[in-house]
């Protein structure tokens, strides 16, 4: 284990570079092969050991929340899609659930089943992407990591092919609407989903063989980047990060939405809180999502997929001035929407739509977790935090 060289006060929010301390400042800059998007971490290095790390976000700020005040609820769904650009289904579901909760619209059972299936498939796809890019972080873009990357993406493409069959788009589907879904599934989709998830379940075994049960991989991730459970809770970290540190909290089980209340969702926690624990939690979550899809894919009830009449005008959905917070469990944690209705266009836009992104909280633990590790460890830790910059910056 690398030794801690100097005392670090992570609560310092102004960078005080003391030249007498003889530290090297290295920008793990916005342009870097493995910062998962445009993200900058300013590292103060003593040799190879990080003494202090200051994260800078905001390079991908696109003003989505401001757009929400101008575009109507119908129009904002495809725009908010692009926040967490790795799991778009979650973004759409967060927004439409917020609107439905405010208007107290009842979503048909079939739509709830569809949303659950899509959410779980999207979770598998997102974790596959995470696994591939994490392999590249550890093993290099030219090397064993690239092999794992290609395997994970090969599997992910099959899931995206399923979504393409239903919605028409591999990515950024705009398949949810306030009151239900816009696209319905077919028996062919059910058949293809069953074959696809069986293949993926077998391939996950292969990934474990090449990757997470590998001695070199364990050396790189065991004991690295330990995140204390209490620190995670105080920083607002949720999702696989918190569960790997022992925090037993999963919105699908504790505050069920869609049809999770009728299913038995197993929640996996580890107590170590290091990178290996986070990997194991995510791998187990993938298997669990596959199990959930396998359970419900054949029992989707008949019925409509939209609870209200589909509208032809952009001001079809109007929400009066009231406030509500709804949240769902995205692959990164708790994705929440705080909605204050009664905005412009006579209530057809939001007055304020705040998106509580889990990645922003994940990134905020960097000043606490990085110090004491080497630069290689920093990359490994950043990989397991799984930040998506589109979500961090919105």
């Amino acid at each position: 284990m690398p030794r801690r060289v100097t005392e670090v006060d992570p609560h310092l929010d102004i960078e005080t570079y003391d030249p007498s301390a003889d530290l090297m400042v290295l920008n793990l800059g916005p342009q870097h092969p493995s910062t998962h998007g445009v993200f900058r971490v300013k590292l103060y290095l003593d040799g190879e050991i990080i003494v202090k790390a200051v994260p800078y976000a905001g390079y991908l700020h696109r003003g989505v929340e401001k757009l929400c005040e101008e575009l109507t609820f119908v129009q904002i769904i495809p725009v908010v899609d692009k926040n967490d650009y790795v799991s778009p289904m979650m973004n759409e579901q967060a927004i439409v659930m917020a609107c439905e909760a405010m208007l107290e619209i009842e979503v048909p059972r079939r739509a709830l089943y569809l949303r659950t299936i899509f959410a779980e498939l999207q979770r598998v796809a997102s974790h596959l992407l995470w696994l591939g890019t994490f392999g590249m972080d550890l093993g290099g873009a030219l090397g064993g990591g690239a092999s794992l990357f290609m395997y994970c993406f090969r599997e992910r493409e099959t899931i995206l092919g399923l979504f393409e069959e239903v919605t028409g788009c591999r990515f950024h589907y705009n398949t949810h609407a306030v009151g239900g879904n816009r696209h319905d599934i077919t028996p062919k989709f059910c058949r293809d989903t069953k074959t696809t998830i069986e293949v993926i379940a077998k391939r996950i075994e292969e990934y474990i063989q090449i990757f997470s049960s590998n001695r070199i991989y364990r050396d790189r991730t065991q004991g690295v980047g330990v995140l204390d459970g209490d620190l995670a809770v105080s920083l607002g970290i949720t999702g696989p990060l918190a569960r790997a540190s022992g925090v037993d909290h999963d919105l699908r089980r504790d505050a069920p939405y869609h049809i999770y209340g009728e299913l038995d969702v197993n929640v996996f926690t580890e107590s170590a809180g290091d990178c290996l624990a986070r990997t194991l939690v995510r791998l187990q979550e993938m298997c669990e999502s596959i199990r959930i899809v396998r359970e419900i894919i054949d029992s989707v009830p008949e019925g409509p997929i939209l609870g209200i009449k589909p509208g032809k005008s952009p001001t079809h959905i109007k929400i009066e001035s009231s406030q509500r917070y709804t949240c769902i469990e995205s692959p990164r944690g708790e994705l929440g929407t705080y909605l204050i209705g009664g905005g412009s266009n006579r209530g057809a836009s939001a007055y304020r739509l705040k998106i509580r992104s889990p990645s922003l909280h994940a990134v905020s633990c960097i000043p606490y977790v990085f110090p004491g590790h080497t630069v290689s460890d920093a990359i490994a830790i950043l990989g397991t935090l799984d930040p998506i910059m589109g979500e961090v910056d919105r």
Binding site: Q75, K82, R110, Y151, H183, T186, K188, Q209, L306, P310
Partner: protein, 185 residues
């Protein structure tokens, strides 16, 4: 040491994948088959009687989140097919540079005039090449259409769909059958 065994196992996985068939498609020499509902570029179509379907109602322009559609109505004219006076379109431009392919314009079109395509158009070499004018939109009509037209999407999202019939002696419409994909005529 354990390193050797794990190295051998990792090497076994990669060697096993050497003997799997490649999963990549050599585009543009070959192309993968796109599903029925695949949505890419746009086209303006004529209706069944051969008349221009667009009535310049500006629904697509109003709903577009990226505000890329500009519609110029031409006012009422006599239709060459039915002989009645109806609205016609003078110009419709769609800037594909900024389109986010959300399908909302297609969904709100009352006459199924604006539809999306299933066949990939050729990539453009300049920004102007992606700016779809009315001529290009009508020219795109000959390419393969996506399944999702306005009326079909509205029908799929009907809140009464799939519910038991209200009239006795009449069966509920079949649920979950995609007439094109499942081969049902």
């Amino acid at each position: 040491m354990g390193y050797f065994i794990d190295t051998a196992r990792a090497m076994a996985v990669t060697m096993r994948n050497v003997f799997r068939p490649p999963t990549t498609v050599q585009y543009p020499k070959e192309d993968r088959v796109r599903p029925e509902r695949y949505r890419t570029s746009f086209a303006l179509v004529h209706d069944a009687s051969g008349d221009e379907a667009c009535i310049a109602c500006l629904a697509c322009e109003r709903i577009c989140p990226s505000r890329i559609i500009t519609v110029k109505p031409a006012g009422k004219r006599e239709s060459p097919v039915t002989g009645k006076k109806r609205n016609y379109l003078e110009d419709l431009t769609l800037d594909l540079n900024a389109c986010i392919f959300c399908e909302l314009c297609v969904q709100v079109c009352p006459t199924d005039a604006l539809i999306m395509l299933r066949e990939l158009a050729k990539p453009a070499l300049s920004r102007e090449g992606l700016f779809l004018s009315m001529e290009r939109l009508y020219a795109n009509e000959s390419l393969a259409h996506s399944w999702g037209t306005g009326s079909r999407l509205m029908e799929m999202q009907d809140p009464k769909r799939g519910l038991p019939a209200l009239e006795p002696g009449r069966e509920a419409p079949p649920q979950g059958v995609d007439p094109i994909a499942d081969g049902v005529s």
